[in-house]
């Protein structure tokens, strides 16, 4: 089987789906790997690294696509990608199939099997193929670095000859994968960290990292399989009350709250931003799904009343080397799960296959 790795075309994307380290594993699975030229350049992987690992180089995406049965990318196919695709090919990338019905239809129409990485079921044995987890984790770290870089203060307490610098106060909304890593990173740097979440088990998890949890006493939260599915307006009101004091003292706020399959909830209203200190920074990690503050804009920094609201929609792209490594490992594990003795198994009893295969069976 031939497999091609495309260079990402989305603006601001620096990652690559497959890193040289994975080539050997893919070869062992029976794949013959082609990589589009410069695919890994922005993640510090040269074409030479790929060829040394046993891949060949294609000079254009068209060439790469045409050469192979399986095509791998991180982001959904671009217009040109789709034009180059032919019936019978297998496309692997994030497809966001619930939000992207036309694209799925188009792929189905062309007779292409689309496997969506973001549709990976979050079950124990799929953890090693779950790109959401692996990327959220890095994002949590990076969001703190980004916050630290934007803040006019330092994180740790320092007693110096020129006076004592008080530790920065960091407030984190949403204690999922990203939120936890953000807590850990901010704690390490010496900040005082508080966090809040709708799921009650997050209290213990937050404390297991040495931070403080703000419990919101309120109802109207629907949690399903570990995910917040729905949060009532009443709850959001209660939450506001509970966090406002911390918000007013916070130097850095990081928001990570997502609700599966829905727009992210607005956790910080414009009015609440008004409560915040001059010079405070908000890093909104949910900005790609609408943002957790009333004012966040994707990939822009909004300054309101002296408060900087930094919206970064693709944090992993800022740590392309590590992010690509993890992604690549997720994908090669996924492929080794799908493939057996040199060909795809299409085991329709298997949850992982059925959930990720988002195009109708063609």
């Amino acid at each position: 089987m031939k497999l091609s790795v495309l260079k990402e075309t989305d603006a601001g994307e620096t990652r690559v789906a497959i890193v040289p380290k994975s080539i050997a594993k893919l070869t062992a699975l029976g794949f013959d790997v082609t990589v589009e030229t410069n695919a890994g350049a922005s993640a510090a992987f040269t074409d030479a690294d790929y060829t040394n690992a046993g891949a060949s180089i294609a000079h254009t995406s068209k060439e790469a696509i045409e050469k192979s049965e399986v095509i791998v990318k991180i982001n959904p196919p671009s217009k040109e990608d789709i034009t180059s695709l032919k019936a019978g090919q297998i496309w692997i990338s994030q497809l966001f199939h619930r939000l992207n019905e036309p694209l799925i239809k188009e792929l189905e129409a062309k007779g292409i099997k689309g496997l969506s990485l973001d549709a990976m079921p979050r079950i124990s044995r799929a953890q090693s193929m779950d790109i959401l987890s692996s990327q959220s984790n890095l994002s949590g770290y990076k969001a703190v670095i980004c916050g630290a870089d934007n803040l006019g203060k330092i994180f740790p307490m320092l007693t110096t000859a020129a006076g004592t610098i008080t530790p920065a106060k960091v407030l984190i909304f949403g204690v999922g994968v990203a939120g936890l890593q953000a807590i850990a990173t901010a704690k390490r740097l010496g900040a005082r960290v508080e966090a809040t979440d709708v799921r009650p088990e997050c209290k213990e998890q937050t404390e297991s990292l040495g931070a403080k949890f703000i419990t919101v006493e309120g109802e109207g939260v629907k949690v399903e399989g570990g995910y917040a599915k729905e949060v009532s307006a009443e709850y959001l009101e209660k939450q506001k009350e509970a966090v406002n004091k911390s918000l007013a003292q916070a130097d850095l706020v990081i928001t990570t709250a997502l609700v599966q399959g829905a727009k992210s909830p607005i956790l910080i209203s414009e009015e609440q931003i008004g409560l915040m200190k001059n010079g405070a920074v908000i890093v909104d990690m949910a900005v790609a799904k609408g943002g957790n503050t009333a004012l966040s804009k994707a990939d822009e920094t909004v300054i309101h009343n002296g408060v900087k609201i930094v919206g970064v929609s693709n944090f992993p792209a800022q740590i392309p080397t590590n992010a690509s490594e993890l992604l690549s490992r997720n994908i090669d594990t996924f492929l080794s799960h799908l493939v057996s003795e040199g060909s795809f198994k299409w085991d329709m009893e298997d949850e992982i296959t059925t959930e990720t295969l988002v195009t109708a069976k063609v």
Binding site: S128, R188, S208
Partner: protein, 461 residues
């Protein structure tokens, strides 16, 4: 002249008992202490035979030698052949033999001293205590053995037992008072004492047996001491009293270690507490281990692997685990950490935790690298991890974690699991590992229990 040397030897024997017991209370000297006391014992026995004055028929000598010879062979073989796990019951058995010996002495000597109220008191006391110790030990033995399964309790057994005890006392006092020489009374008393011993131990649960054995042990010591008083024999007196007092203290110490007042041990409410934790679970029984036993096990291991999990983070026990590592490494034990990819609640949770207490990066081993090492590992210490060591992931296709790679802790020679209860972890499923033969559970909050473990390790030096 003979007599004098005899006293010196008895004295020396007593000293070996004291020294032996003292050395037994320190891990390093314990073995020598035991041998020392044994030497003293042999000396005392030989002395008793050799320095005896007055004519003794060869028959008697013959009987003595045969009894000793047979006793030695039987005792030696039994003790040598028994499995490690059966030792406590054997101790109980031997203790019972000692008690019986004391009781028999009383039975035989009784008629020699009829009328002498002091001696009678001593004889009857020795006999009663010896008998109680004998029958009680037998019951304890049967319980540990599994021959008697449950705590058998008569209604109001406490009151009943107390009445019998008082009865025994009054009866014996009456015998002394009247100076009766009636063998009948003697045998009634004997039988009653045996009965009391049985009733005393029957209601007590299996978990408390070690305490009971220790108590009966000090009873036997007391019985021996009465014998010593009777014969004016110093070595019996001192040996007996020594065991009586040391045994009593030991009993108290053991009670304290188990957090149960001795009163509860004797007057009911026995063994009710611990069984709940240790006998729950549908898949059978789990074995518990305490910090002190574990300390020995770790101290004398060559290679230990620590498997940290979410519970370590919850307990915030990262500093203690580092202390444990340091102390073990100082003792020449090789320690590493097996980090499962999804241990904890976020990717890298264990890294963050252990970095805080400055655990060296090189000591953190990835799953694939360490899995082959478990087979050469003496002890795996699983601290607050559960799902990541659940064999169901490999064996049970219906399990929600089926297919997740796990740490093969089962391959190690012993596996200790620390958690607070038998509750499941993140995935909400039972863990068969806890019920495996090689597994022992160390219940309690990780920080607390590990601190105790460190303290025990320090005490071991």
């Amino acid at each position: 002249m003979h007599l004098d040397i005899q006293h010196i030897i008895y004295l020396l024997s007593s000293v070996t008992f004291i020294l032996g017991l003292k050395m037994l209370s320190n891990a390093k000297t314990a073995k020598n202490g035991n041998s020392l006391a044994a030497v003293g014992m042999i000396a005392a026995m030989i002395t008793a035979i050799v320095f005896h004055e007055g004519a003794v028929s060869p028959l008697v000598y013959g009987l003595i030698f045969v009894a000793i010879a047979v006793g030695t062979v039987v005792g030696w073989l039994t003790a040598k052949r028994v499995q490690m796990t059966k030792m406590p019951e054997l101790v109980s058995l031997f203790n019972g033999m000692g008690g019986a010996c004391a009781a028999l002495i009383g039975l035989v000597e009784f008629h020699h001293y009829v009328g002498d109220s002091m001696s009678m008191s001593v004889i009857l006391a020795g006999m009663v205590i010896g008998s109680v110790s004998f029958s009680g030990s037998m019951i304890a033995w049967a319980k540990l053995n599994g021959k008697i399964k449950n705590a058998i309790r008569f209604p109001k057994y406490n009151i009943l037992n107390t009445i019998i005890l008082i009865g025994l006392f009054v009866y014996a006092a009456w015998m002394v008072w009247t100076g009766t020489g009636s063998e009948m009374h003697l045998y009634v008393l004997f039988a009653a004492a045996l009965g009391y011993g049985i009733l005393f131990v029957l209601p007590i649960g299996g978990a408390d047996m070690p305490v009971v054995i220790s108590l009966l042990n000090s009873f036997t010591g007391l019985a021996a001491a009465f014998g010593g008083f009777l014969y004016g024999n110093q070595v019996m007196l001192t040996g007996g009293i020594l065991v009586g007092s040391a045994g009593t203290l030991l009993t108290l110490v053991m009670c304290k270690a188990m957090n149960r007042p001795l009163f509860n041990v004797i007057f009911g409410a026995f063994g009710a507490g611990t069984t709940a934790a240790s006998e729950a679970g549908p898949q059978g029984n789990v074995k518990e281990v305490g910090p002190s036993d574990l300390a020995v096990q770790l101290n004398y291991s060559k290679k230990v692997i620590i498997v940290p999990g979410y519970g370590l983070a919850v307990a915030q026990a990262q500093h203690v685990i580092k202390e444990l590592e340091t102390i073990l490494e100082e003792r020449g034990v090789e320690v590493s950490y097996a980090i499962h990819p999804v241990a904890g609640r976020m990717p890298g949770h264990m890294n963050v935790l252990l970095a805080e207490s400055n655990v060296e990066y090189d000591k953190l081993k990835e799953m694939d690298d360490i899995n082959p090492e478990f087979a050469q590992t003496d002890v795996v210490l699983v601290v607050g991890a559960n799902d990541v060591v659940n064999p169901a992931a490999k064996t049970d296709p219906s399990s929600p974690i089926y297919g997740m790679p796990i740490l093969d802790v089962e391959n190690a020679k012993a596996c200790i699991v620390n958690k607070r209860s038998m509750k499941p972890g993140y995935a909400g499923i039972e863990n068969e590992l806890f019920f495996r033969d090689k597994t022992q559970m160390l219940f309690g909050d990780a920080k607390k229990v590990l601190s105790e473990l460190v303290a025990e390790l320090k005490a071991l030096d």
